[in-house]
């Protein structure tokens, strides 16, 4: 079998991949066993993401975009094919890939500070306690939550919770950051300010982190990404098209909507995702 020839950590096998490749999704199919039989979520996916790129996976609900992203995080194992992240075959979750969950996934019995600290303590276990504390405090300051550090997650608003989750993911300094509909539950204004905060954190790190984000918000996808991966509807979803976003960075939330390229990309994505645009359109 072809997959056998790929050995984890085998440098010789990966020289085919350029050094700048961060994630390589190689012929991945994911299926689940259900009482009604086999359910194929995504089928024959091939996707290469370069180091430092921001890529959005977009599609309708249930199209398997989260499943695809979870194969990168290692939370889901592909039934066929493989995912290579940082030149290693993904076999499970690892500290090189930080995850921000849709529902924040903060531990409700730990303070904001502790929620980040426990993740840092777990991943950066070779650092001293004071080094770990400094990392946590720095990241709390980056997302402007330092004065809320002793609060429990239950005392925070949705936007604040997601900032804690983002700070937690950045604090372990992963080379790949995976965001699963991170702003889906937030209001438009909070969402916009978090987009800017996310880009700020990415810039602070010299745009070295690869970010993969699942979303169903076209504006969000264009504003943040270099590439937008449009998925077909599931089951057995495939990639419909990969749309490049050729808008210069740094991008400005207010001005971007007037950039011709923005409107072009927006129309293209909308065309790919919807087939009815007014009540007169019939199919």
């Amino acid at each position: 079998m072809e997959t056998k020839s790929y050995l984890v950590d085998s440098a010789t096998e990966f020289h085919k991949l350029p050094a700048s490749t961060s994630i390589n999704i190689n012929n991945v199919t994911v299926s689940f066993d259900t009482p009604k039989g086999e359910f194929i979520a995504v089928k024959d996916i091939n996707l290469t993401i370069q180091k430092g790129e921001i890529v959005s996976l977009i599609g309708h609900s249930g199209c398997g975009k989260s499943t695809l992203m979870n194969t990168i995080s290692g939370m889901v194992s592909p039934s066929k094919g493989q995912v290579i992240a940082n030149n290693k075959i993904v076999t499970g979750p690892g500290p090189d890939r930080g995850i921000v969950f849709q529902n924040y996934s903060l531990l409700p019995w730990l303070s904001v500070y502790k929620n980040i600290y426990e993740a840092v303590d777990s991943v950066l276990s070779d650092k001293t306690q004071s080094e770990k504390r400094t990392i946590v405090e720095e990241h709390l300051k980056m997302v402007n939550l330092f004065e809320h550090k002793d609060k429990l997650p239950g005392q925070l608003s949705g936007g604040m919770k997601q900032r804690v989750a983002i700070a937690r993911a950045f604090a372990i300094n992963p080379s790949i950051l995976l965001l699963d509909e991170p702003f889906g539950a937030l209001d438009a204004l909070t969402k916009a300010s978090l987009h800017i905060e996310l880009l700020k954190l990415w810039n602070l790190d010299n745009r070295n982190k690869t970010i993969v984000m699942v979303t169903h918000d076209i504006e969000e996808a264009i504003f943040l990404s270099d590439k937008v991966v449009v998925m077909n509807n599931g089951p057995a979803a495939t990639i419909r098209e990969i749309v490049d976003v050729n808008i210069e960075r740094p991008r400005n939330k207010k001005d971007i909507v007037h950039v011709p390229e923005y409107m072009k990309t927006h129309d293209k994505l909308l065309g790919l995702l919807m087939d009815k645009f007014s009540i007169e359109d019939t199919h």
Partner: protein
Amino acid sequence: MKTTVKSLKWMLLKISPILYFLGSFFLLCLIWQVIHLQTKGDIPGPISTFKIFEELFVLEDPMYDNPEDPGYKGILIQLISSLGRVFLGFGLGSLVAIPLGLLMGSSKVGLNLINPIVQILRPVSPLAWFPLGMIAMKSAGGATIFMIFITCLWPTLINTAFGVSSIPQDHKNVGKAFGFSLWKYVTKIMLPYTLPHIFTGLRLSIGVAWLVIVAGEMLSGGLGIGFFVWDSYNAGSLERVLTAIIIIGLVGLFLDKAFNYVQKKVTFS
């Protein structure tokens, strides 16, 4: 004027639990007195019973414990010995049930393997274990503790296992995504989430244990509040039996409230 009415109302609201308690106590005494009159005094009434209360706690030394007079011990001595057995059995039972419940809840195999045993043994009256306790412990006191130990296993075991098996996937994902060690997972995710469930089990256990101790001590004899009930019955003093019933009830209430308080303290919110 208005403010005094308002503050009076507020005060009434504040003390209303106490008023309700007194009211319900009065109602109980009323029903009791009616039964007393209906049975033409065969069952002692509240007044004569409260006299025995006074006798046991004030006129006699409730801590009376004379080795030269083994036939009679003060009421508090009896109560303390019962509580001692309950807490010893409860402690040992919890020590076994909590770790076993954590294991059972975290592994499907463990759950499926141990669950049938629990389901068969749980409905058995704890008193049925008394003879086995006698053989194992070679003493009536030991057998009572053994019986309480068995009693306290099931509620704690089941609730702990249920708590662990219901940890939300979100919380587990945090452990997975950030590579928590087993120790970190147990102390930062499993135990904090499960603690309220464990305490529900402990609270149920202590409640059943307090129920069972009375019957157990009637069987074992010698010392304890259950023995006191049986001894008083044999001595023909129904007043003493009724007094013991009230004491048992009040102690049970206190235990439940105390566990409830601790449970609230350890529950995150």
